[in-house]
Amino acid sequence: MTTISQVFTKGIIAENPVFRLLLGLCPVLAVTMTAINGFGMGIAALFVLLCSNIVVSLIRGVVPPRVRIPAFILIIATFVTIVDLVLNAFAPGLHEALGIFIPLIVVNCMIMGRAEAFARKNTVGRSIVDALGMGIGFTLALTVLGIVREILGMGTAFGVDITGAAFEPMALFASPPGAFIALGILLLVFNLIIKRLGFE
């Protein structure tokens, strides 16, 4: 049995959903044009993951195994719609920037994966810790990717000009192909660090 702190840290480092498991890459690549978008998407996914893990864990044993997948999807879709409506009402700028990728959190395999692989077999407490670990890992990855792409693509980070006028922004990094390149480089760096630090 893994300890509760291991449950938490594995989501951030050893099993980071983006850098280690390469899960849910569609929003990872699509919305990380800027640091704030990456961070917002990460938080939205974290919220959905947390809620779905709690509910899935609560109803474990009640839902017949053969209909668990449709049940999970119903639960996840409900929380995603709530996030969509709440963002639209209270954070319209972010809602517009994330666009279609909010509804698409429904099919984010990280969330489905945690429900299936963890929450349905574990207590509510452990499921919450798991969701927090995975969600924070996901948010960190998206934010880092967003920062890198924003600096290279626009010369700013979180909207603050940091490179000065001498730097000519590379528009490539603000576009989808740049997302692949930036993610590739980050995967290299992250995996190198993990190997060096001996997390494997």
Binding site: M33, I59, V62, V63, P64, R66, V67, P70, A71, L74, I75, A77, T78, T81, I82, L85, V86, N88, A89, F90, P92, E96, G153, A171, A174, S175
Partner: protein, 272 residues
């Protein structure tokens, strides 16, 4: 049997709880969302016309136009809540403000899916300052009074032709201005079939006009990119009206004004 019943019931209960939760959240957020979008528009209209006091709505060809009046009840301009088709999947939604003299006084891009770093040029100062100050009598065309930006041709073309159309609509529907049509007498035109284009609602309209014995005998629409349900109303009426009158000074079809104007312009172009 008992198993299937249990499965169905479980899903039913989960579905019902989820549905109930969503309707609560929707009831809370819906008024806020609606209020905000109206506020956004009002704010934009207030920026365009600081002396705005009252607003009257009017729908033309499926788009909303807002007539703006000042505190004295005088008409000061119109704001259109309109769309253009660009390079992205979604139309470019924008607001265009035209004052009572037919001059563009404001442009605000509401939402678009143009390529970041390329098509989003329409949000930049350079493009906006190109557009603001143009008026009904100007060509409002690429390379004439609006600079083309290389790499963003599709976005620019869609945007500029849409602005031309909106300025035309506002000019004709609200300001009583008229597009000058150089009237062609079919009697002066040699027999034959001629092709011409005009600008419709979304994009160019192309027609083939047949002239025989000094009379327009047939008008066929070859190509258009307008919304079918609107365009077909224009397509059904306009050729008949023009042939009957043997003139381009015919009434346009209500609800399909831009498409109708497009057909008239295209016939005019063909005969020239």
């Amino acid at each position: 049997m008992r198993d299937s019943l249990k499965m169905a019931l479980t899903l039913l209960v989960i579905g019902a709880v989820c549905g109930g939760l969503l309707s609560v959240v929707n009831a809370i957020t819906q008024p806020i969302i609606e209020k905000r979008s109206i506020e956004d528009l009002r704010e934009a209209m207030g920026d365009f016309f600081p002396e705005m006091d009252a607003v009257e709505e009017r729908e033309i060809d499926g788009e909303m136009y807002y007539e703006i009046f000042d505190a004295g009840g005088d008409f000061i301009g119109v704001v259109g809540e309109v769309t253009a088709s660009g390079y992205g999947d979604e139309p470019i939604r924008y607001n265009l403000a035209v004052d009572s003299d037919g001059e563009v006084v404001g442009l605000r891009i509401d939402s678009h899916t143009e390529t970041p770093g390329i098509g989003d040029i329409i949000e930049k100062e350079d493009f906006q300052s190109d557009i603001i100050g143009l008026s009904f009598d100007d060509p409002i065309a690429l390379d004439q009074d609006v600079d083309t930006v290389s790499g963003a041709t599709v976005t620019m073309r869609g945007m500029v032709s849409s602005i031309r159309r909106v300025v035309d609509t506002i000019g004709m529907e609200f300001l009583g201005l008229e597009v000058e049509v150089v009237e062609i007498d079919p009697a002066d035109v040699d027999d034959g079939t001629y092709t011409g284009t005009g600008s419709g609602f979304a994009d160019d309209v192309t027609v083939e006009v047949t002239v025989s014995g000094g009379e327009i005998t047939d008008i066929v629409v070859v190509e258009h990119n307008d919304t079918q349900s609107y365009f077909e109303q224009a397509e059904a009426e306009m050729p008949g009206r023009i042939i009957e009158a043997q003139s381009l000074e015919v009434d346009t079809v209500t609800d399909a004004t831009a498409s109708s104007e497009g057909i008239i312009e295209a016939v005019n172009d063909a005969l020239n």
